[in-house]
C-alpha cells in the first residue's frame, strides 16, 4: 500500500515536473522543475528498494548538477534567453519539417511503449524481493560488486573523472601573456 503510494507520488512528480521543464518559458524555472523531476526519480529508486542509488541520485543531481546548471545559466544568460519561446507551434522553425516530426513521433511512441513495458514490471517488484542474498544491505552489495566484479570499469571511470578535472583546470587557468 505504502509502496504503491510512494510510487504514484514519485511518478507524478517525475512526469509532471518533466513536462513543466519543457513547457515553462523561464529557464530558471526549468532548472527548478528539473530538480523536482530528479527528486521524483530518487523516489522511484527508493520504491525499488535501491536506497543507496536513491540517495546518490539526490547527492549528485540536487547537490551538484542542478546548482551547476543554475550557475551556468546565470553566468551566461541574458534577457533574450528568458523571453524566447521554445515551442513547436511555428515559433521555432529550425526544429524541423513534417518528416522530422513524423519520425520523432514514431521514435517517441516506441520509447513510450518500451517504458510502459518496463514500468509494468517495476510496479510488480517489491523491495522485499530485491534482497535475495546474504548481504545485510544494498550498500555492502554495491561495494562488493564495484570492487570485485566491476573493478575495471570502476577504476576506468575514476581515471576519466580525474581527466575531466585536470582538463577543466587547464581550460580555466589564467593564460600567461607573451
Amino acid at each position: 500500500m505504502f509502496v504503491q503510494l510512494l510510487f504514484a507520488l514519485s511518478a507524478l512528480l517525475t512526469v509532471g515536473c518533466a513536462i513543466a521543464v519543457a513547457v515553462t518559458k523561464n529557464i530558471m524555472h526549468s532548472c527548478i522543475f528539473l530538480l523536482g523531476s530528479l527528486l521524483g526519480i530518487a523516489g522511484l529508486y527508493a520504491t525499488l528498494g535501491a536506497d543507496f542509488v536513491a540517495v546518490t541520485q539526490i547527492m549528485v543531481y540536487v547537490g551538484g548538477v542542478v546548482i551547476l546548471m543554475l550557475f551556468a545559466v546565470m553566468l551566461t544568460g541574458g534577457k533574450d534567453f528568458v523571453s524566447r519561446a521554445q515551442n513547436l507551434l511555428g515559433l521555432a522553425p529550425a526544429m524541423g519539417n513534417k518528416w522530422t516530426y513524423a519520425i520523432g513521433l514514431l521514435v517517441g511512441l516506441v520509447v513510450l511503449l518500451t517504458n510502459v513495458k518496463l514500468i509494468m514490471n517495476i510496479s510488480k517488484a517489491y523491495p522485499a524481493k530485491v534482497f535475495g542474498n546474504d548481504f545485510p544491505s544494498t550498500v555492502n552489495q554495491i561495494g562488493h560488486l564495484l570492487i570485485k566484479e566491476h573493478v575495471l570499469a570502476f577504476e576506468l571511470s575514476s581515471v576519466l573523472l580525474l581527466g575531466a578535472l585536470v582538463g577543466a583546470a587547464i581550460i580555466a587557468r589564467p593564460r600567461k601573456q607573451g
Binding site: 540517495v55 546518490t56 547537490g63 546548482i67 543554475l70 550557475f71 546565470m74 544491505s137 544494498t138 550498500v139
Partner: protein
C-alpha cells in the same frame, strides 16, 4: 535491514495493546506513530531553533559585556516567541521585479531541506525516525537542498546584495561539502557502515571508545568536520552570504516577515542538526558511559538527554566562535577550503584506512589498555 522507530517500539508489550486498539491495522498504527513522532521532533527542533536565537543574543551580550534580552518572560526567555509573533504579523513585502515563484519557493526549500535531515538524526539508539543503512549519506545529500534555497533566494529577489550573497552562499556550501563529506567518510570507514545505528554501536562505553579518540587521524577529522560544518551552515567566521557589513543582509535582504523567519529558523535548526551529527559521529552520540544489557524506555530518554547535552555544548561553541573571530575574505575562504581542509581531509581518510590495516582495526585505547 533498515531499523525504524516503529520496529523498535514493536518489541515492547504496549505495542500489542496499541495494535489491538487500532484494530490490528499495522499500517495505520505505524502511520500514527510516525505522525506523532514527526510532530514531536519538528516541534522540539523549532523550539531549539527559537531558543537558539535567544542563546545567540544572550551569549553575544555576555561576550560584549551587555545585558541582552531581559524583558519578555523570566530572563528574557520568551523573547523568541515575541519575535515570532512580530514576524508573523509583519507585512509580507515582495520586490516588484522579483521572480514570484522562486521568491516564494526558496524559504520553503530551506525548511524542507533542514526538516528532512531530522528523519535520521539519532536521538538515542531506539528513538530514531529511521535508521537507514545509508543514514549519514542521506543526511549530506538532502541538506544540499539548503544550498539550492540560498542560491534561489539570492536570485529571485532581483537585488544586487541578494545576488552576491546567493552566489557566495552556493559556492561556499558546495565547496565545503567536500572536506566535510571526506571527514565523515573516514568515520564510515572506522565503523564499517553508514547507518547511525552502526556508528553509535561502535562507540559504546567510556569516552575512550569515541571515534574522536580512535586514532590521531580521526581526531583531526573532527576539527575538519567542525570547521567545514561552520561554513556549510553559513555561520561566522564564514557568514559571507550574509555579511551584514558589506551585503546588508545577503541572500535574504529582500525577505520580510515570516519568510525571513523561515530562513532564520532553518539556519538555527541546521546548526543544531550539524552539531548533533558531529556529536553522534565523533563524540559517542547518546551512548551511556557504561554498558547495560537491559534496554528499557527510561534509559532511552537518558540517552536523549546525553545526546542533547553534547549537541548543545557544540552549539555553544558555534555561537562562541561566531562572536570571537572576525569574518574571512572570499579568497581566504576558498583557499582555506581547497588548499588546506580538503588535502587534510584526504590525508585523514588515507591515514584512517592505513591505521585500520596496520593495527587490525584496533583503536588507540585498545592498544594502550589492552584489547578486550
Amino acid at each position: 535491514m533498515n531499523q525504524t522507530l516503529v520496529s523498535y517500539l514493536s518489541q515492547y508489550e504496549f505495542y500489542d495493546v496499541l495494535l489491538a486498539v487500532f484494530g490490528k491495522n499495522e499500517g495505520l498504527l505505524a502511520f500514527t506513530i510516525y505522525l506523532l513522532a514527526a510532530l514531536a521532533i519538528v516541534g522540539l527542533c523549532a523550539t531549539i531553533g527559537g531558543l537558539g536565537t535567544y542563546a545567540e543574543r544572550k551569549i553575544s551580550a555576555d561576550l560584549q559585556q551587555r545585558m541582552g534580552p531581559n524583558r519578555v518572560g523570566p530572563y528574557g526567555l520568551l523573547q523568541f516567541l515575541a519575535d515570532g509573533v512580530k514576524m508573523m504579523t509583519k507585512e509580507d513585502i515582495m520586490p516588484f521585479t522579483a521572480d514570484k515563484f522562486l521568491f516564494y519557493l526558496a524559504p520553503m526549500l530551506a525548511l524542507i531541506g533542514v526538516f528532512a535531515t531530522l528523519a535520521v538524526l539519532p536521538w538515542s539508539s531506539g528513538f530514531m525516525m529511521a535508521d537507514l543503512n545509508v543514514g549519514v549519506f542521506y543526511l549530506i545529500a538532502i541538506s544540499s537542498l539548503v544550498g539550492v534555497s540560498v542560491f534561489l533566494g539570492g536570485y529571485a529577489s532581483n537585488s544586487k546584495w541578494s545576488m552576491l550573497g546567493g552566489m557566495r552562499g552556493a559556492s561556499q556550501i558546495i565547496s565545503y561539502e567536500i572536506p566535510v563529506t571526506i571527514s565523515i567518510l573516514a568515520i564510515t570507514l572506522l565503523s564499517g557502515g553508514m547507518s547511525f545505528g552502526t556508528i553509535l554501536s561502535h562507540q559504546q562505553g567510556t569516552p575512550v571508545n569515541w571515534f574522536i579518540f580512535h586514532n590521531p587521524f580521526a581526531f583531526v577529522a573532527f576539527f575538519v568536520y567542525a570547521i567545514g560544518a561552520l561554513a556549510e551552515t553559513n555561520r561566522a567566521p564564514f557568514d559571507l552570504p550574509e555579511a551584514e557589513s558589506e551585503l546588508v543582509s545577503g541572500y535574504h535582504t529582500e525577505y520580510t516577515g515570516m519568510r525571513f523567519g523561515f530562513f532564520a529558523l532553518a539556519e538555527y535548526i541546521e546548526v543544531f542538526v550539524v552539531c548533533g551529527v558531529g556529536a553522534a559521529l565523533f563524540l559517542g552520540g547518546g551512548n551511556l558511559p557504561f554498558n547495560l544489557d537491559i534496554d528499557i524506555i527510561p534509559l532511552q530518554f537518558a540517552q536523549v538527554v546525553i545526546f542533547m547535552t553534547k549537541a548543545l555544548l557544540l552549539y555553544y561553541v558555534v555561537i562562541w566562535v561566531r562572536w570571537t573571530l572576525p569574518r574571512l575574505r572570499v579568497d581566504q575562504l576558498m583557499s582555506i577550503c581547497w588548499k588546506y581542509l580538503t588535502p587534510i581531509a584526504i590525508v585523514n581518510l588515507m591515514g584512517c584506512a592505513i591505521w585500520l590495516v596496520v593495527f587490525n582495526g584496533k583503536s588507540m585505547a585498545d592498544l594502550i589498555f589492552g584489547s578486550h
